[in-house]
């Protein structure tokens, strides 16, 4: 073991299991993160001791659950520096982004309008806008990559004009792993009066987010990529915007009154939370936030940076390795091995217990821009250590030998 030790590896029993006879080397945190054992136990306790239904209850048990649910909302609000009324619980980042498209988008994007997107957007922040644009006759304008394979700010500048109604942008790309120039792009967008939707799915596990300072209009993320349970996500929106927007889904818990067939809506955030919410999911997300706060983002950032500083030079030194994107990596690195298809490589890695992702990473426009069908992606988080980097490097070496010998 080198100097980079895992933060709290022992909290994750999953990482002690084996895969194909090897101890698991989990390098797919950008897809989803394991949940700390203690959070699972707390959720179990909640189900066993307090679980009931939220809202609309006049009984004590229901109130306990409602308070726990709203307490989770407050934790999220504090975590991203928002007001609790600005925090909408959804089933995940994809649902959050669709909500913006279905509610704000349908009301505000019209024929001839333009939407600016990065070519590196995840399908979840690409397709909703593409489909909306097709439906209303608006136009997508793509921020391309410069020769560092990072977003091209100069080209981006030329995309904004008085027709631009929206900027949809990932804070951190799930393929390139680099932080996009969000501040600059938001300011370009706001200068022409456009609204900014930031997809924070890959950023929020890695850095302290302050939506007010960022001045984004919407911010979306998922719980399962930040040590929380599955099926829960968040949409932050500026209150003034949320208040003007119509609800996107309809059902229990989101109306104020229904009279002569006319419905009026509850205040935000309830207006956007039709139906029984994922109560325990939200509470679990709250626990994940407690956990991250306890470790502290200073430690998280430093840890991941040290891992990258260790790994990247060694990876780059391998002449058969092509790394995509030359920016600083937030724990995520995508690459290809010369002459070896990423699927074949991943199958070999898997035999070593090294679990990476191979494919297009739900970023086909970026793959097309990079001129590749797919890539290998290794993504690291607080429980990974230098030994995991070494195992990846060794798996790469063996894979290269296997295919070079064989061919």
């Amino acid at each position: 073991m080198g100097s980079v030790n895992a933060l709290a590896k022992s909290d994750f029993p999953l990482l002690r299991r084996s895969v194909n006879g090897q101890r698991l080397c989990y390098l797919d945190s950008a897809a989803t993160t394991p949940m700390p054992q203690a959070i699972g136990e707390k959720l179990q306790t909640f189900y066993a001791q307090s679980y009931s239904s939220v809202h609309r209850s006049v009984n004590s048990l229901g109130l306990e659950t409602t308070n726990a649910y709203e307490h989770a909302r407050s934790k999220v609000a504090k975590f991203i520096n928002a007001d609790p009324a600005e925090v909408i619980f959804t089933s995940g980042a994809t649902a959050s982004l669709n909500l913006v498209a279905e509610s704000w988008g349908r009301e505000n994007i019209h024929q001839g309008d333009e939407i600016v997107l990065a070519v590196s957007e995840h399908h979840s922040n690409f397709l909703p806008w593409q489909q909306l644009a097709q439906a209303v006759g608006a136009k997508l304008r793509l921020i391309k990559l410069n020769d560092q394979e990072e977003l091209d700010l100069i080209q981006a500048k030329s995309l904004f004009n008085e027709k631009t109604k929206l900027l949809a942008l990932a804070q951190v790309s799930n393929v390139l792993g680099s932080e996009n120039p969000v501040a600059e792009l938001i300011s370009m967008a706001h200068q022409v009066g456009a609204i900014c939707v930031i997809d924070g799915a890959q950023a929020i596990p890695h850095e302290r987010i302050d939506v007010r300072q960022m001045d984004c209009d919407f911010y979306a993320f998922s719980g399962h990529k930040m040590l929380g349970p599955t099926g829960i996500g968040v949409l932050y929106g500026k209150k003034a915007l949320l208040e003007q927007m119509p609800p996107a889904h309809f059902g229990g818990g989101m109306i104020n009154y229904l009279d002569h067939g006319q419905a009026t809506w509850e205040a935000v955030p309830e207006k956007f939370e039709a139906g029984t919410p994922n109560t325990v999911g939200a509470i679990g997300l709250g626990y994940a936030i407690d956990y991250l706060n306890k470790i502290g983002f200073k430690n998280i950032e430093q840890h991941n940076q040290e891992l990258m500083n260790y790994l990247l030079p060694k990876l780059a030194a391998n002449p058969g390795v092509k790394i995509y994107g030359q920016g600083q990596k937030l724990g995520v690195v995508s690459f290809n091995l010369a002459g070896i298809h990423p699927h074949d490589a991943a199958t070999l890695f898997d035999q070593f217990g090294v679990e990476v992702r191979a494919g297009h990473h739900c970023a086909l426009p970026l793959m097309q821009e990079l001129g590749i069908p797919a890539s290998i992606r290794a993504s690291f988080y607080i429980y990974n250590d230098q030994a995991d980097c070494d195992r990846l490097l060794e798996a790469i070496k063996q894979t290269q030998e296997f295919f070079n010998e064989s061919c």
């Binding site: 194909n20 074949d344 199958t347 070593f352 494919g359 797919a374």
Partner: protein, 151 residues
């Protein structure tokens, strides 16, 4: 790791077909074709067939993909030339069955010839699709041209 397992997936003939695919490129004359994507990786296989009097007289493919999908498509083209469309449909079904660990009738297996080697992919569930997509394309191309066998 079991490199032996890997050798059973990546046998010499497989690597050879992947590195030197047979019948790669668009046919100048064809009357049946189909494109199939593997949504999990973005791989694409486009298959071209020339069918005369219900027999495959020429076959080729284009598209990019992993060793498994390229080798499987290459082996497929070799296997289908000279077969009837009915035989091809039976082969596609037999291949897909074997690759997913199910049974297939001996006659169809015999028709597969060398291409049956790809069904060892069965041991690597995550890669089954890679091996089968060219066979789906075959099925689709024939059905598109001739209609469903039961029609």
């Amino acid at each position: 790791m079991s490199l032996a397992d890997m050798r059973s997936l990546y046998q010499a003939v497989v690597l050879d077909h992947a590195a030197h695919p047979r019948h790669k490129g668009e046919l100048s004359d064809y009357n049946a074709a189909s494109t199939v994507h593997n949504p999990s990786c973005g791989d694409t296989i486009k298959l071209f067939l020339q069918i005369d009097q219900d027999k495959i007289t020429a076959a080729s493919f284009t598209g990019s993909g992993c060793t498994i999908s390229q080798a499987s498509a290459s082996l497929l083209t070799e296997a289908v030339i000279g077969k009837t469309t009915a035989q091809c449909l039976a082969m596609a079904k037999a291949f897909s069955n074997l690759a997913t660990g199910q049974e297939a009738d001996q006659k169809s297996i015999a028709l597969l010839g060398d291409s049956a080697i790809m069904t060892t992919v069965m041991q690597f569930p995550a890669r089954i699709k890679c091996a089968t997509i060219s066979w789906w394309a075959l099925d689709e191309a024939i059905i598109k041209m001739k209609g469903h066998p039961n029609d």
